[in-house]
């Protein structure tokens, strides 16, 4: 619980290279060559032993045989990522099969070595992998520092306003019946204005968080249907107030997807919120979710005020809000769609808008089901080879 930087340092640099191979000759050969060059080396004989090792102690570089009995190298690679995202994995492939090596690189391996290789080749690859590990650890430390600062800023911006709104709600609920109608209306306006400001703070901090850390690296199984129902439900009151009907059409047996719950909720609620707010009385909002091959498609369409081609161009700019006589009384931060775009891009998805003035708008989001599109993965895969 206590952060001891020295202890952390030791843990992080305890083992330079972990060799994972079921062939004793490879283990010994690699270990000898690397130990001679001054690397701290450990060896294990199977995928399971490798996972047990990194769960207990960190390893900067993992030399991983793809072809092993028991858990395959490919599976080890996939299970290593969430446990130690900074570790550089170098694949050892005996069959010189480019295909499996490419597959491994796609899922986050840093480099590969085809057998047979010389001690010099091994050293070069390990040195580079170790350097990449150090940079990744440093980058994470800086990100953590920025995130900590952001958390303090978020708290300090929000707290006073949250206190103000709490007092206003207390007044309204405990003394509201003693006020004149006009005073009660003014009190409600004060509450609404603090809500808008609180929304702006949430949006700004969400966007800054995405800027700093990329998307939440933690993916979890998410049921898109559940989230859709929940988000639509949360807008029922606002929709009724604006005399807008929301219908939700969810394909049966939608697959669970490896996204992040909070981000998915935010993405959907920003789209649905716009569709309701920029609508006409008697208008409709439809949310349609369907599964495609390896992705899930979400369409949020409305029969609202629509946008001109010029407005559509600026739609995703930060703080851009469409201003005309129809939008004068609509509140918002102008950050909602920037957040949507950021989340979609980070997850490797696509976002499309179709709109016509006076007819309405439709936003189509297609997100891959698996976490393959995370920014970390992309960054490493696009590395020049």
């Amino acid at each position: 619980m206590i952060d001891d930087p020295q202890q952390k340092q030791r843990q992080e640099s305890g083992t330079d290279v972990l060799i994972v191979d079921d062939e004793e000759s490879i283990r010994q050969g690699c270990a000898q060559a690397l130990t001679k060059s001054g690397f701290r080396v450990e060896t294990v004989r199977s995928g399971q032993e490798c996972l047990d090792f990194v769960a207990a102690r960190k390893a900067a570089v993992v030399l991983l045989d793809l072809k092993m009995a028991g858990i395959s190298g490919q599976e080890v690679l996939e299970r290593l990522r969430p446990i130690c995202p900074e570790t550089s994995v170098v694949i050892i492939t005996g069959y010189a099969t480019v295909e499996s090596a490419v597959q491994a690189l796609k899922t986050g391996a840093y480099d590969f070595l085809s057998k047979p290789f010389t001690p010099a080749q091994l050293r070069t690859v390990v040195e580079r992998a170790l350097e990449r590990y150090r940079l990744a650890v440093e980058k994470r430390r800086l990100q953590q520092e920025q995130e900590d600062l952001l958390l303090v800023m978020y708290h300090d911006l929000k707290s006073p306003l949250a206190t103000v709104k709490s007092y206003l709600l207390l007044l309204s609920q405990h003394e509201g019946d003693k006020l004149s109608d006009a005073s009660r209306t003014r009190l409600n306006r004060a509450i609404e204005r603090t809500d808008t400001q609180l929304g702006l703070i949430e949006d700004l901090c969400m966007l800054s968080k995405l800027d700093i850390a990329g998307p939440n690296v933690v993916s979890e199984p998410v049921e898109p249907a559940d989230i859709c129902r929940q988000v639509v439900e949360s807008f029922a009151e606002l929709a009724a107030e604006k005399n807008v009907t929301i219908t939700c059409s969810l394909q049966k047996n939608l697959p669970a997807v490896a996204w992040n719950r909070d981000e998915t909720e935010r993405l959907l609620s920003n789209l649905v919120s716009n569709a309701v707010k920029y609508n006409e009385p008697g208008g409709k909002v439809t949310v349609v979710v369907t599964a495609e091959d390896c992705s899930v498609k979400i369409v949020v369409a409305d029969t609202g005020i629509g946008m001109s081609p010029e407005e559509q161009k600026r739609l995703f700019d930060r703080f851009y809000r469409i201003r005309n006589e129809k939008t004068r009384y609509i509140s918002g931060s102008g950050l909602g769609l920037s957040i949507v775009r950021k989340i979609v891009d980070a997850r490797g998805g696509t976002l499309r808008v179709e709109s016509a003035l006076g007819k309405g708008s439709a936003f189509t989001v297609v997100l891959p089901i698996h976490k393959g599109g995370s920014s970390r993965g992309k960054e490493e895969n696009s590395r020049d080879r």
Binding site: M1, D148, H155, K158, S159, L161, A162, L169, L170
Partner: protein, 128 residues
């Protein structure tokens, strides 16, 4: 029947005032502490029936305080409601990363405080 006792731990006196006023018609005795360290000590001494706990406080943050209480045989059965301005996703991801502290509270309510909602959640926390 004896009144139930609630310990409110928050460094902002205004929040303590709002919590008191929100719960004024409920049959509770309210005791207060103004930081995490004082809060843990008061919990041990006062044996409250429930705790309302802020997160970002001087002298021990709320997650650490919650962790200590939940691992203290004398206090671990006391239900804890986290009451904070920090959104749950923000707080848990940050703390999970840096301290390995899972969220161990029994309920989580975000500020601003809606007095009616707080009354309901505290009733639930204390088991009706």
């Amino acid at each position: 029947m004896a009144k139930k006792k609630i310990l409110v731990i928050d460094d902002d006196p205004d929040i303590i005032d709002i919590v008191r006023a929100s719960l004024q018609k409920e049959p509770y005795d309210i005791v207060v502490a103004y930081d995490g360290q004082e809060g843990v000590e008061k919990a041990r001494a006062e044996k409250p029936d429930g705790i309302i706990l802020d997160i970002m406080m001087p002298n021990k943050d709320g997650f650490t305080a919650c962790h200590e209480l939940k691992h203290d045989p004398a206090c671990k059965q006391i239900p804890v409601l986290i009451l904070t301005a920090v959104g749950q996703h923000f707080a848990t991801t940050r703390y999970a990363k840096s301290q390995g502290l899972a969220l161990e509270s029994d309920d989580y309510v975000e500020k601003p405080i809606n007095p009616q909602v707080l009354v309901e959640r505290v009733r639930e926390l204390l088991g009706g």
